[in-house]
Symmetry: D2
Subunit: 288 residues, 4 copies
């Protein structure tokens, strides 16, 4: 099975006391069903998985999977602890999530061989489609291209990569791996058009949590409307800069809450954007 | 109360199946009681806290506190989740640990205000002496000096800093905070002598897990034997380079197991050092 | 006037004693006239301008301009010394070079205002079309986007940017500046297709010194042959990795000398690639 | 011959039109003769050598050597061009400068072997005492420790290192090279005390251009007054932070001009510090 299109790295709506908001999640998923994305990615970085307790993660994944409808669920199973990834992976597979998204352990910097060891332990113990998740600016390490190639070759249930480094040169080295049963997604909204122009299969795009423009870039490109796609991508980039005026990912949260007219919360230590940042975000949303 | 001397950031001995080895821990603490360190720091980076499940951490801390004898216990309570730090902090305080060592949340990069928010939440909820732990190469962020100064001013139970960045220029900016009730420790063995020469109160020194040389540097300096201290520090640095020939912290584990004649284990994803690295480590131990 | 297409950042052929080889330069320009590039860029980074004495630079530029034929000459006028840039700029204008390519001063890190001061001094004193050259990995500093925008607005003879950082996110922020009288070029061969897909006007591509594939990427894209352009870009990337197996820019020099059957030299401190690197380069040339 | 003490990396006084001010230089050298430094280092980074034309450099060195009195002259001979270093080196030797200070070529990043090639070419051709100058934050590259060790072994006229990276861990790896005929200097004022506590022979300290405190640190340490040395070093650090409030090295220039009551200039692209920065600098000078 080959995956493509735009996947949403879902933020995790919070109540004002900081607890997980399942009603808000229903509204988010409802919104996403209407804008043409092909999958939901709960418990990624935008979803602030490291801020949640294990039990919260398990419950949240169950809830998202229950309401997914026709969308695929890409379940984030990251942890700084390999055996906990196994535990999260088995749970996500039991729930029925379609794809598991696994990153290297973080905080301690693993060697290349330790990155391989981590992935192979989880892949050996959990039988479900996997995406490899590269996000060195948060996890601390680039996954070497040859480790990805080796995992792809050894494990037929490794079916893709989500590459979020923002480094197009690294990204372009992954593209030769794309094929019938292997998908390459770029995880940075502002790099969607250059990535698919190079042959990427799709994008994991945070702005889709509250705005459909990035889906339009994808569709315009697939329709051969290059000029339109360029123009829409430039609008996306303007929006993205406003959202990132506040420390990641708080701008995404404000934009979503604002769009939905919700009084959402900010799980500690995340802080609500400043008034000035909120103004910039709201203005950018209006103009996009 | 003012803390000084050498603290050991304890590695967590593992059995060959990767489980925590409490007997090995007894041997480690026994060793440490004999070499002149003034405190035990379990569940720091060398102790691989991010690789342990919550229950393992709680049990381990209880065990170390039970056998500490006259040594102070500096309990690592780090997590990527602020509320989990509160939970770990309360538990460590209940157990009777002397000092709690708290770092910023990691993976997601907090802003300066978010770093402050994190610390103040935990400090408000847990009543015990605290050390602030700066280790940007793992946590992803330097704690701004002014945030440390503000926390010190606002919370009388903030009693010190463990500074492990390896950046002496940042470190030297902390030293004016040292005082009657506030201690500054450098967390890099090879920087002990320059740090105490600048006025630091002590060091958190990983090599003390299996070698007493770094304690000797401290004692020689305190005795006014500068020339000797320089020579001993140079020997420490040679040893440290050998230990770090293998990816951090696996060299520390091999050195300890080797010294104790144990067949210890390597919790995943950590890998045993290569034969060549083991040879270098063993040779350096012999020559030190 | 609007510039587009592929520009060659010319290497500077050397004789075996390290002196500049004008005959080799003739052969290089002859080659470039046959592969469809639209301009020559002597005395850029690939041309090792910092290794040449002032007099050598002046003579070389004169020679290249004499033999340029229908090609435009983009003359590198970089120096660590602003007034020397003025001197080189006036000389290049006198010679009749079409465009002057100016970077910030390097070694000492200028502030944003100092970068602006540097450019404005040279632009005030030299009346000729200019390209701004961003190459932070060598010069030490990104040129802030707003400095580029300001220079474009204030000086009508600023007609474009050569952006060689390799950072597509920075690059994409430049694209809104592209227009009737302002061109944006990417200076990294492996980023050509993503760049022109985003709206760039062309590329400054080192591989064109000895291989026409990168010109083909440009032409295929302009002909609307996206699939072909992707495939050709992938071949370019494979070639580029082989060339960069040796420390920049020695691989470019070996590839050129090998292609031309010349016994060229390596100006100190540049060293000839190792035998293994040469083998990889020759093999990649053959397969491309 | 063994070198020690404090060396001043001289700024190059400028007139208001940006030309080199030899009278100002006389006043600077006069000042330096009175504060206990042991050498003058013209044409280093603080001296902005990359902003000067070749002729200016040659004249300036001649002038400084003429007025040096009992002080040693360490002549900066850095360039991005190896053969130009030879030229500058021969000239400085002819003039009678005592020591030549050589860094790797910059802008283009040399490989380790190319760094070695550069040094060996200059060392082979110029017969005079040399210091190796490591300043990776400007030159772009750390000089590998083993390259330094090899040069020391092969060339008896390599007599020391000026290490300005600010990285104490790198610095401490150099110290085993210190010996009867080989000196190790740290080039960062705020690291003087930790460096000499580790065994360094001296410092190359920019603040001595206008303030004697750093010389006092050295003398107090040599007199065994550790506590005093710590306190003086802390004052130095406070002063240094104020000076660096403005982009390097403009704060050094303002501090010198202010101290001397001169209306000095700022060679382009350097800009005069802002009014706020000047106020901070002047206040720090007063309080030091």
């Amino acid at each position: 099975m080959k995956y493509d299109g735009i996947i949403t790295p879902m933020l995790t709506p919070f109540k004002q006391d900081g607890s997980v908001d399942l009603d808000g999640t229903d509204r988010l998923v409802e919104y996403l069903k209407g804008i043409g994305v092909s999958g939901l990615f709960p418990l990624g970085s935008t979803g602030l998985f490291p801020y949640l307790f294990s039990e919260e993660r398990v419950n949240y994944l169950q809830h998202v999977n229950d309401i997914k409808g026709d969308l695929k669920v890409f379940a984030g199973i990251g942890s700084s602890n390999t055996e906990e990834c196994v535990k999260f992976g088995r749970n996500a597979a039991d729930i029925g999530c379609d794809i598991l998204v696994l990153m290297p352990t973080y905080y301690i910097h693993p060697s290349h061989d330790e990155i391989y060891r981590h992935f192979s332990i989880v892949l050996d113990k959990v039988d479900r489609d996997f995406f490899i998740y590269n996000i060195p600016q948060l996890s601390g390490e680039f996954i070497p291209i040859d480790v990805i190639a080796k995992l792809k070759e050894e494990y037929s249930h490794v079916v893709g990569v989500k590459e979020s480094s923002g480094d197009m040169r690294y990204f372009s080295k992954l593209l030769p791996l794309s094929g019938k049963n292997f998908s390459i997604f770029n995880g940075q909204d502002d790099l969607l058009l250059p990535s698919i122009a190079l042959g990427a299969d799709g994008g994991v795009c945070g702005l889709s949590n509250f705005n459909p423009l990035i889906v339009k870039v994808y569709q315009e490109y697939r329709n051969g409307e290059m000029q339109k796609a360029q123009e829409t991508q430039m609008k996306v980039n303007t929006l993205m800069r406003a959202i990132n005026a506040s420390n990641f990912p708080s701008g995404y949260y404000h934009a979503f809450y604002h769009k939905m007219g919700m009084q959402g919360g900010y799980r500690a230590p995340m802080l609500e954007p400043s008034d000035e940042a909120k103004r910039l975000i709201e203005q950018a949303l209006e103009e996009s």
